[in-house]
């Protein structure tokens, strides 16, 4: 287990919704890194390191959270659909690995 990543207790009292993700940033990065490794194995050309980006939709999520951007909308929909099984598998593997490595956080 990585000692550097501490389990985060839910903050007491009210938390502004737009800051809900803040206590979980470190875990989100860990989850993102694990997911990126899986994606890099499944999809050629994917980088091996994830990026930290202030994604609007995730700021109110009070849990480790990542956003996965597959491609822009100009890609062929059939091509996108063909990616689905590998993508689902990569996400499942990453979440399983995260819960195994950081059991206290993988609620």
């Amino acid at each position: 287990m990585n000692a550097a990543v501490q389990a985060v207790a839910p903050p007491p009292g009210f938390v502004p919704w737009r800051e809900a993700q803040k206590p979980y940033e470190q875990q989100s990065r860990k989850l993102g890194d694990l997911l990126q490794v899986e994606l890099a194995q499944k999809f050629k050309g994917s980088p091996e390191i994830s990026s930290s980006v202030p994604v609007y939709e995730l700021r109110s999520v009070a849990a480790p959270a990542v956003a996965v951007e597959l491609s822009n909308i100009t890609i062929d929909p059939q091509q996108l659909e063909a990616m689905a099984p590998d993508l689902a598998d990569a996400i499942a593997r990453a979440v399983t690995a995260y819960k195994t490595i950081y059991p206290a956080e993988g609620k």
Binding site: R18, S51, V53, A67
Partner: protein
């Protein structure tokens, strides 16, 4: 073969040939139209955002961050000779203007071509406020990567060329905006520091922008 079948085939062949010729003409027209639009855009830019020159301008090498020519999902610095002011505010305006107007190739563009920097301020604590025209949001291709590359190219360019800027606030037409084009949170402040361009956010962990009170 019957005569009317021969005639039908001949008509079809002529139609296909005519179609091919028309397609070629159409292609040339589209190419001409694209060129005209680019020229019009350049003319419009010269009226809306004329080049900034100050008495302290000195031609110097500036590092501007556009999309990499080889890896279009990453930023790469390009050294460009620019007349840069000694005044950090004017210098930043000149750099952002060049970032919009002097893109090496269309594929390397990070900021929409119609974007104009309306105003730029630097507060005493090192906070820079960049106010962009509506086109920055409305013409931005929606997506985490494209939006982040736009914000990051501004941050990296300022960090590399304007000392003293510690963080950046982006406004759209004088207003605070939640997102750039639906994904990247620009409601807070971005820390400005020289750092390598990030890898592609195929898996992008959440990191909300630091919320902060609007300046003033």
């Amino acid at each position: 073969m019957q005569r009317h079948v021969k005639i039908a085939i001949a008509v079809l062949v002529v139609a296909v040939l005519a179609g091919l010729i028309y397609l070629r003409v159409l292609h040339q027209r589209v190419a001409r139209l694209t060129q005209t639009q680019a020229t019009e855009e350049q003319e419009r830019r010269e009226v809306v955002a004329p080049p900034i020159s100050t008495p302290t301008d000195v031609v110097a090498n500036a590092q501007l961050f556009w999309l990499s020519a080889t890896q279009p999902d990453q930023l790469a610095p390009v050294t460009v000779q620019l007349a840069l002011s000694a005044d950090p505010v004017e210098r930043a305006k000149q750099l952002i203007g060049a970032l919009i107007a002097n893109t090496p190739t269309t594929g390397q563009r990070t900021l929409p071509v119609g974007t104009t920097l309306l105003s730029f301020y630097i507060l005493p604590d090192g906070t820079a406020i960049a106010d962009f025209s509506d086109e920055f949001a409305s013409e931005m291709p929606s997506g985490i990567l494209s939006e982040w590359m736009a914000v990051n190219s501004i941050m990296q360019t300022l960090a590399a060329n304007v000392p003293g800027i510690t963080r950046l606030k982006i406004l759209i037409h004088g207003q605070e905006t939640e997102t750039l084009a639906g994904h990247v949170d620009i409601s807070g402040f971005f820390d400005v520091h020289v750092a390598p361009a990030p890898a592609v956010p195929v898996g992008a962990p959440a990191q909300p922008a630091k919320p902060g009170a609007p300046p003033g």
